[in-house]
């Protein structure tokens, strides 16, 4: 049967030459205004939120919907819109800054370090579990449903081919090509 190639084809856009500094995690903060992925695979400028807040939100996004076959850039793309929203809406900015500060506070109390530097996903998920009914968590989780899963770039990584009418549908492209069912 015809299957979909799910391999990652992230273009490594080198916005910055070097990973300047920062944390032990793969998401770094550079020059106080940029958030950057591992090895400079992607980077974004943050204008309204604190860059450390955005970095934590991106990690939080991955911890809420962890897909090991998705690079951080997809999570970053799902979250970057909050920076512009925060620029226009003071309530949202407050919700996000306070939410992240409290999450960091809980992480420090339990692990002696901020959320981004808590090493195990399981430990970070426990911190999220404690706030899962809060409006901060629910806003981030709810937004990810479309922010992450409605990115056409991620569909192929789940083996989903998206629009088909422009390709003539599947009548000649494997709508009935399953070959492993035993009678």
């Amino acid at each position: 049967m015809r299957t979909v190639d799910k391999k990652s084809r992230v273009s490594r856009r080198q916005f910055l030459q070097t990973a300047g500094a920062g944390t032990a995690g793969v998401i770094a903060i550079v020059n106080g205004a940029f958030v950057m992925g591992a090895n400079g695979a992607w980077a974004m400028e943050v204008e309204n939120l604190q860059p450390s807040t955005m970095a934590t939100l991106i990690q939080m996004a991955r911890d809420i919907y962890p897909h090991d076959h998705l690079a951080d850039s997809y999570y970053a793309k799902a979250m970057i819109g909050y920076d512009a929203v925060a620029g226009k809406n003071g309530d949202i900015k407050q919700l996000l800054e306070t939410g992240v500060a409290e999450l960091d506070g809980a992480a420090k109390a339990k692990h002696g370090t901020g959320y981004l530097s808590v090493g195990w996903e399981e430990d970070r998920a426990d911190l999220l579990k404690a706030i899962e009914d809060d409006s901060f968590f629910q806003r981030i989780r709810g937004g990810l449903i479309t922010g992450l899963y409605n990115q056409p770039e991620v569909w192929a990584k789940f083996g989903y081919e998206g629009a088909s009418a422009d390709k003539g549908g599947y009548i000649d492209r494997g709508f009935d090509d399953i070959d492993w069912l035993k009678a």
Binding site: Y65, H69, W155, G159, E161, A163, G169, I178, W180
Partner: protein, 523 residues
């Protein structure tokens, strides 16, 4: 060029809504030479406007006006502002329906006699029998081009169907096939055949699936006897001192109020808006709402017992390829109280794309349990479970006591509590659905909770006696002779089958009656 009618023309039949009920009725009346105006709240999006994009089309065609929910149903928790997943556009929900076209079973039209007393259920026999409906079912199947009727071949089975069929065979189910679908398996009636595109819920790009948008409505317009006014949100039905309806007040595309006079008014706005309109049309003569002397307007809201089962296999399925509802198992649709519930349910394949699967597989869930399921998306098969739910008086559409819509009218609240029979049936259906997939080696199955209601029924129900319901066996309101209900809200009970075929059937039958009554000057 389609005919247009003057607002002061009081000879016209005005139909509110252009979906399976309103769109069909409009064409049927026009074919008989009756001057007809359809007022449709939504816009007119033709096939070229359809996109293979789940959220894109959701935003474009869904009914997203504010609504509230209450009751213990899970939809009230997961989708509190979206009780129903229906369409606000010319063609109504026939734009996004899947196409399953099943006749009701004989006993499902007389459930009070068949099931007896069920505590908490407001059961009632329909005032019509299967025999009354059969000639009209035949006309509807021919009109819609339903596969496996009228010598029309069944559709070919896709991967999702093949998994279901293999499991059904292993379990010993005898009635599994690719369905009776209003989707062309070969060109018919000026429309092409199914190209197995998928995206049936987003509007059929080839028109192979029947929708009033590109069948009934243009056919009616071609007679010169039908005008369809899009972006016309009806606010109130007006009546005279004799208690006869005289016209319809609506807001046009610019938000200006217009009054279209009418000889007859037919309400077909789906089972939330139709009772809401009758309730919002209360007057000093009808203080509890129009046609509501029984107090039954808005009550007995039904939405089918639903749920889904998705299953993961160790090899790929690619269920999204091809028709969304690609096959059916009917073995559980019988009434067999030994299973612990009355009534029955159908099992119908269903697939969602990645965007909708993320939203509906297990709403609110997060973490590895959820994402490990999503990671196996291309290895999933899926089915929808749809069965008869019990009518309950307290499951009802009411007017919100403070929230208003953009026109200043109270928004509807949709209250629904599951009946114990609904819960017992759902649990049985989850178990059997999982068994179908387990039989062919599923490694994991998911009992997925109900989506917002696509099958909305029963809020203006049909009854022999005026005290038990809102309309008679023709869909004519008991209280007002020239006011009709023409959508699924007239269903006395819901049966196990998808409602569209029966809505179309009742509309064809109602058109004959309206024409006869107009001919006799009775209305």
């Amino acid at each position: 060029m389609a005919k247009t009618y003057d607002l002061n023309d009081d000879s016209v039949v005005v139909i509110i809504g252009s979906g399976a009920g309103g769109g069909t009725l409009g064409n049927e009346l026009a074919q008989k030479g009756i001057d007809t105006v359809i007022l449709e709240a939504g816009g007119r999006h033709e096939i070229q406007d359809f996109e293979n994009d789940e959220w894109g089309m959701f935003g474009k065609i869904s009914w997203l006006d504010p609504r509230t929910t209450s009751g213990d149903w899970r939809v009230a928790k997961d989708f509190s502002g979206l009780p129903a997943w229906i369409v606000k556009a010319v063609g109504g929900s026939t734009v996004h329906w899947a196409g399953a076209s099943l006749r009701f079973q004989e006993h499902e039209l007389k459930v009070q006699s068949t099931y007896g007393g069920i505590a908490g259920a407001n059961l009632l026999d329909w005032p019509i029998t299967l025999k009354d409906l059969e000639p009209y079912y035949a006309k509807a199947e021919d009109k819609m081009g339903v596969t496996r009727t009228n010598d029309i071949e069944g559709l070919p089975g896709n991967n999702n169907y093949k998994v279901m069929k293999a499991g059904a065979d292993k379990l010993g189910y005898k009635h599994c096939h690719t369905g009776r679908m209003a989707i062309n398996s070969a060109p018919r009636d000026g429309r092409g055949s199914c190209q197995q595109i998928g995206f049936c819920f987003q509007g059929c790009k080839t028109g192979a699936k029947w929708s009033t948008l590109y069948t009934e409505i243009p056919k009616g317009e071609a007679t010169g006897k039908l005008e369809v006014r899009a972006n016309a949100q009806v606010l109130k039905i007006e009546h005279n001192a004799q208690g006869k309806v005289t016209g319809v007040l609506y807001a046009d595309a610019e938000g200006n109020q217009q009054l279209q006079k009418a000889r007859v008014v037919c309400v077909a706005g789906n089972s939330i808006e139709s009772p809401r309109l009758l309730l919002n049309s209360a007057s000093s003569m009808f203080p509890d709402g129009l046609a509501n002397s029984s107090g039954q307007v808005g009550r007995n809201y039904m939405r089918h017992m639903t749920g889904s089962v998705y299953a993961v296999f160790d090899k790929p399925v690619n269920m999204y390829r091809g028709t969304t509802m690609a096959g059916i198992i009917s073995d559980e649709s019988r009434n067999d109280p030994s299973r612990g519930f009355v009534g029955g349910y159908e099992m119908e394949t269903l697939s969602l794309g990645v965007p909708f699967m993320a939203a509906f597989l297990n709403p609110g869930a997060w973490g590895r349990s959820f994402t490990s399921a999503m990671d196996m998306y291309d290895h999933m098969a899926g089915m929808w479970l749809v069965g008869e739910d019990m009518p309950q008086e307290s499951n009802r559409i009411t007017l919100h006591d403070s929230k208003k819509d953009q026109h200043g009218l109270p928004i509807p609240n949709v209250h629904f509590d599951d009946h114990p029979n609904d819960i017992a049936m759902r649990n049985h259906a989850y178990q059997q659905g999982a068994a179908v997939y387990d039989a062919v080696g599923a490694v994991r199955t998911f009992p997925t909770p109900p989506y917002p209601s696509t099958h909305n029924m029963g809020t203006n129900r049909m009854s022999e006696k005026p005290r038990d319901g809102v309309v008679n066996k023709w869909g004519q309101t008991h209280d007002v002779a020239n006011l009709f209900v023409s959508d699924g809200s007239q269903f006395t009970t819901g049966a196990a089958e998808n409602p569209t075929l029966t809505i179309v059937t009742l509309a064809i039958r109602q058109a004959d009656y309206i024409a006869e009554q107009m001919g006799q000057k009775a209305i």
